[in-house]
């Protein structure tokens, strides 16, 4: 039982209420209610500028919320710093993959794991306190590098990877952190079409490992293929929630896309500049 009396095993993994954020008078996000159930894969869709990335940023502590509260595993996380939210089990990736260029691929993934004893300055001086743990984590990291198909590159600097490979590396790194909720911002962007199917399968495996997924995606085929629930945003608001088929059938959703551009439904050009800043 948590402080407010709700049972953590039945209450939603993440629930957000009245989250708002505006930039210079322009409302970027105004979400009345959003929930992610345990073990589900939730897709967040919507036209460019709908506020999807801003919502990610706010929920994960990378941007300040003007109003609203959100709970994760029953714990209030509103307004907490980004690293605290990540440690609580809510880990996000970025629209343009952010890797550590001058760290090897393997070391990038090792950075994912939390609770490393050797990451404390005081104990880092005594290798015998952390060496065993570090070795185990390195093995787990190596498995994950293989899992995303970067095994041949494990010793290379991450800065030498292509954009799509960086996306894969970022996914492995995020999974390494053993999150309860993985928030993927356009995981397919820039990924080689040949690898897409494999990547989709990896994502669908995640709930069985105890990791729920909330992901932003433009490609409706991808969304229908793997998501349990689809949330559609437009101009900062959530305008539809439901199964992929339900949402696709709603007039509001079609209008939100068609009202702006027909291209949006067919996925966006990965080379175009960042949508929200």
């Amino acid at each position: 039982m948590t402080a407010d009396g709700s049972d953590p095993t039945t209450s939603p993994l993440l629930s957000a209420m009245g989250v708002e954020r505006s930039f210079g008078g322009v409302v970027a996000v105004s979400v009345d209610h959003l929930e992610v159930e345990r073990g589900s894969i939730v897709a967040l869709i919507g036209p460019n500028g709908a506020g999807k990335t801003t919502l990610f940023n706010v929920l994960t502590g990378f941007e300040r919320a003007d109003a609203g509260t959100w709970r994760f595993e029953g714990d209030e996380l509103t307004g907490r710093p980004a690293h605290v939210i990540a440690r609580a089990g809510m880990v996000r990736t970025f629209q343009t993959a952010r890797v550590f260029p001058r760290l090897s691929v393997l070391d990038n993934v090792r950075m994912g794991s939390g609770g490393q004893r050797g990451e404390r300055l005081a104990t880092s001086v005594f290798p015998w306190t952390w060496r065993q743990q570090d070795r185990e984590l390195a093995e787990r990291a190596a498995e994950l590098v293989e899992w995303v198909g970067l095994g041949a590159k494990r010793g290379d600097y991450a800065g030498t990877l292509s954009g799509g490979q960086r996306k894969l590396l970022e996914l492995a790194r995020a999974v390494m952190s053993a999150p309860r909720l993985l928030m993927l911002d356009e995981p397919m962007a820039g990924v080689n079409p040949a690898l897409r199917q494999a990547l989709l399968e990896k994502i669908t495996e995640l709930p069985s490992q105890g990791i729920s997924v909330l992901f932003v995606e433009h490609d409706m085929d991808v969304v229908s293929a793997i998501s349990d629930v689809v949330v559609c945003m437009s101009e900062g608001h959530v305008i539809a929630v439901g199964t992929p088929a339900e949402v696709a059938a709603q007039d509001a959703v079609v209008e939100a896309y068609l009202g702006r551009s027909h291209e949006d439904l067919r996925g966006r050009d990965p080379t175009e500049p960042l949508e929200e800043s």
Partner: protein
């Protein structure tokens, strides 16, 4: 006909390469490397840590406190400076940190230099005669040590032994902490702060730790410098010194463990040989654009050129990994 005496220049170089200033530079650069090389913090006021270290010890010893306490005060002053600089500024952007740190260093120097503080800091004149207690614990017998003109008196040698021992200890400490998950995290923060934050790393805390530790090592450099001659003077701590240390770090290899110490030795050897040869070549003659008093200026031109050429053609320095240095951010 120019009379160039190469062996004499080489002896000058070898003497300066192991001198107390070289070991002061090695220590200071080791601290700077921890901040700039590993954590990516642009501390352009690093000279201030050596200054507060030197003045902390100098004033304490001058006021009659025991030597060990004076040294502790100097080191603590460096740690406090790191804390005071870091707490408010580490959330700012990298280039703001650069400007705030260089500004703080200048403010401290001007204040210490101010005639109104003369009774405490000695103002522009500084404080002299503060190495007696350090020399009094010197176990070496009086005399000169070394071969020919490559030799030192007992007090200089004593300072050198203590100083280089500290350089080795500081380097070993840096080795330990940077070849650990903490060091990996620090590098990751240098590479991409936001990504590190998204993985639950306490970016602010790690940056503050590296800033404070680097400043403490910098303060130690200042303390050693006090014992080389026994006085402190504000004019030793101008901002240009920080940039010399940057050169030393770049020369040795940014983000390498033993680079700063090696870089300092090479820097002092090269500068000294260059100086000797230049002095011999110019002597007291005047050329159309150069005369004897310009040797100092020429040296700075060379230092500046060295920084540019190194960054362009050998960004990895002596010990760094070229591949790593050439990785593009985007």
């Amino acid at each position: 006909m120019l009379a160039i005496n190469l062996p004499s220049a080489a002896v000058d170089g070898l003497r300066d390469a192991v001198s107390v200033p070289a070991c002061v530079y090695a220590l200071a650069a080791t601290g700077l490397n921890l901040q700039f090389g590993f954590a990516g913090l642009m501390n352009f006021g690093h000279v201030a840590s050596a200054m507060v270290g030197a003045y902390g010890t100098g004033i304490a010893v001058h006021e009659g406190l025991p030597l060990w306490l004076g040294i502790l005060i100097g080191i603590a002053a460096g740690a406090l400076l790191g804390l005071a600089l870091g707490l408010p500024t580490l959330r700012l952007r990298a280039d703001y940190l650069a400007i705030v740190t260089i500004s703080t260093a200048e403010i401290l120097r001007v204040v210490i230099n101010s005639a109104r503080l003369q009774s405490v800091t000695g103002g522009p004149i500084g404080i002299t005669g503060i190495a007696k207690s350090f020399y009094s614990v010197n176990p070496l017998a009086d005399g000169r040590y070394g071969i020919g003109s490559w030799s030192f008196n007992q007090n200089t040698l004593w300072t050198m032994i203590v100083g280089w021992t500290l350089v080795v200890l500081a380097s070993l400490l840096v080795y330990r902490i940077t070849r650990s998950p903490w060091g990996r995290m620090l590098k990751a923060i240098r590479e991409d702060e936001e990504a590190a934050r998204s993985l639950g790393k306490n970016v602010f805390g790690a940056k503050l730790q590296s800033l404070v530790l680097g400043s403490t090592i910098g303060a130690l450099a200042g303390v050693i410098f006090v014992f080389d001659g026994g006085f402190v003077k504000p004019e030793f701590y101008v901002s240009q010194v920080t940039f010399n240390w940057y050169l030393v770090v770049i020369l040795g290899g940014i983000g390498t463990v033993f680079g700063p110490a090696l870089g300092s030795i090479v820097y002092w050897f090269a500068i000294s040989v260059f100086n000797s040869l230049l002095t011999q070549a110019i002597g007291n003659r005047s050329f159309w654009f150069i005369d004897g008093t310009d040797t100092g200026a020429i040296r700075f031109v060379v230092v500046g050129l060295a920084v540019i050429l190194l960054l362009v053609f050998r960004p990895q320095g002596i010990l760094g990994d070229r591949q790593e240095a050439l990785v593009r951010d985007r």
